[in-house]
């Protein structure tokens, strides 16, 4: 059996590893544009200088040799031919497959703001090359604008804080991290960042990049009318799946590649996993989809049991927060429970005995239980306790093999 995996990140690596654990003989090839394996979630640690790209390798040094996987690094898939089951690479080499995984992830999307795409010092934040460019340029730079106050944007800000630069953050919503945090928990971070000299502009749109004759960035005009002087703009306004090698009317595409619960596409023997599917671009789902696809590619049926993408943990300025499920009550049939103690903040939203969402800021100990209750819609109405005191003891049960189970 010939397996071909496009992409060597969360989804691709976990798929290849799974295939090898189930098929000792099969021929596995991994192709990736990246010439290194690294965790993109940690790129901001390279910006801050606390790690190198090499330090972001999330598998062992000898991963490919040990598992007898042929890795073609620094190569791009250029064209997928589904009829004859072949992939053409940018160096014109042709790879055939019996089973294919597309796990090419996503790339930064640079929005159509006036002059943004033209500016020399405009960079996304997704790949090792982006970080290299930032580190090369930043020594000539005094002021940097980070566009987008979502998770990636805030990662960038926290990475830059170790550097001697002036940082301005521009976010369209009324607060930073609008998908993860409510006003109270976002404000806590905003204040911490402001105390450390970061200029935060919320509720404003970027309107135009000011460039000099040679397209060097000079400033950013925002919708309040203000011009923020800057010599570099880091764009963190979202991503688009990497699909350019797929011809129209072949693999089904919606927001990304459409897959079923086996991570199979509409085309026989073609599977997809991770951010390229465009659903919930988070690391754990990419890993699980990769593992699920790996099983099904080998012919061992496995369904993806976990689609839950509304969860994130944040750790900025030594303050931890987790955000799970919804962040605000939808209407007054939802009960909102709040506990506050100084900087610490906890909010749990319940409807009809089921926890729908939680924000925990400051103290996140043992909080995986809440994630599970939300994800699996576990009924807590029989638990006679303050909702903040609920823990696994309330659902405790040990199976035959010693693993834990949830019993309501």
């Amino acid at each position: 059996m010939k397996y071909l995996v496009l992409g060597a990140s969360a989804a691709g690596i976990n798929c290849a590893k799974t295939i090898r654990s189930l098929d000792k003989e099969g021929e596995i090839t991994v192709v990736s544009k990246d010439d290194k394996v690294y965790s993109r979630c940690m790129l901001h640690h390279v910006v801050s200088g606390s790690r190198t790209i090499e330090n972001l390798n999330f598998v062992s040094e000898d991963f490919f040799e040990k598992l007898d996987i042929h890795w073609m690094k620094g190569k791009n898939a250029k064209k997928l031919h589904i009829e004859d089951k072949k992939v053409v690479l940018d160096d014109e080499s042709i790879l055939s497959y019996d089973k294919l995984l597309i796990a090419t992830g996503a790339s930064s999307f640079i929005p159509p703001i006036k002059n943004l795409r033209e500016g020399n010092q405009v960079v996304g934040f997704r790949d090792a090359e982006d970080v290299e460019m930032i580190l090369q340029e930043y020594s000539h730079v005094k002021d940097i604008v980070v566009l987008g106050g979502g998770l990636v944007g805030i990662d960038v800000v926290s990475g830059l804080m170790a550097k001697k630069v002036n940082i301005s953050l521009v976010e369209f919503a009324d607060r930073i991290l609008p998908l993860q945090l409510d006003k109270r928990s976002a404000t806590t971070y905003e204040d911490l960042f402001k105390d450390n000299g970061v200029h935060i502009h919320t509720g404003v749109k970027a309107e135009e990049v000011l460039l000099d004759e040679s397209n060097n960035v000079k400033g950013l005009k925002i919708s309040s009318g203000e011009v923020i002087p800057c010599e570099m703009i880091i764009v963190a306004t979202g991503v688009r799946p990497n699909l350019s090698f797929i011809s129209e009317n072949t693999v089904n595409i919606d927001k990304g590649i459409v897959v079923d619960e086996y991570c199979a596409t509409n085309i026989a023997d073609v599977f997809a996993a991770g951010d390229v599917c465009g659903t919930h671009p988070i690391w754990p789902l990419a890993v699980k989809q990769g593992i699920t696809a790996g099983h099904n590619m080998v012919g061992k049926e496995k369904k993806l049991e976990d689609h839950f993408g509304f969860r994130n943990s944040l750790n900025f300025m030594d303050l931890q927060t987790v955000s799970i499920g919804i962040i605000e009550p939808v209407d007054d049939t939802y009960e909102e429970h709040i506990e506050e103690d100084g900087i610490e903040y906890k909010k749990i939203i319940v409807k009809d005995g089921i926890i729908q969402g939680a924000i925990l800021q400051g103290d996140i100990s043992y909080c995986g239980v809440i994630t599970t209750l939300i994800k699996n819609k576990v009924d807590i109405s029989k638990v006679n306790k303050n909702v903040f005191d609920i823990n696994y003891a309330d659902f405790f049960s040990v199976a035959e093999d010693g693993s834990y189970e949830y019993v309501v």
């Binding site: 979630c41 940690m42 754990p284 987790v322 799970i324 043992y366 239980v369 823990n391 405790f396």
Partner: protein
């Protein structure tokens, strides 16, 4: 793989396992006289939780067959050994993102009290013949058994 098994009904919340875990992982020495309970550095990797009837439940890492903490770990710090089945944590690789804390379904994991930068995680006493918690459990609530499942 070997797993620390639990008979909940035998737990009397004496917390010997918790103290044993703290002592075993104490940098100052493994004896009880070395253990300063007020030093935040000494934390237990297991804990006892109470349900609404105040019935104790020992919360111990299961070294799961499908470990959520490993699936969510973005740095490669959490790994499951395919031979021993042990899920181990490598502090040096960890990026302190705490996705694992958020994802362990049984609430086993927490961040460290002192620096809030590493994860407190069971290492099955790093190769010790019998884990210290099991050795110190006076009721037989905790015991080690081969469970024969592996990735």
């Amino acid at each position: 793989m070997k797993r620390i098994k639990i008979k909940q009904d035998l737990c009397m919340a004496c917390m010997n396992c918790t103290i044993a875990c703290m002592a075993e992982h104490n940098e100052q020495g493994k004896g009880i006289f070395d253990l300063d309970l007020t030093d935040l550095k000494n934390e237990s990797r297991n804990h006892i939780s109470l349900d609404s009837q105040k019935k104790p439940a020992p919360i111990f890492c299961r070294h799961c067959d499908e470990p959520e903490c490993v699936f969510t770990c973005m740095s490669g710090a959490m790994t499951k050994d395919s031979e021993t089945g042990i899920v181990s944590y490598n502090e040096d690789k960890c990026s302190s993102c705490f996705m694992c804390v958020m994802s362990c379904p049984y609430g086993v994991l927490k961040t460290d009290e002192l620096r809030n930068s590493v994860v407190i995680k069971c290492d099955v006493c790093d190769g010790r013949e019998i884990p210290r918690c099991v050795e110190n459990c006076p009721t037989g609530c905790l015991y080690v058994e081969e469970v024969g499942v592996c990735l």
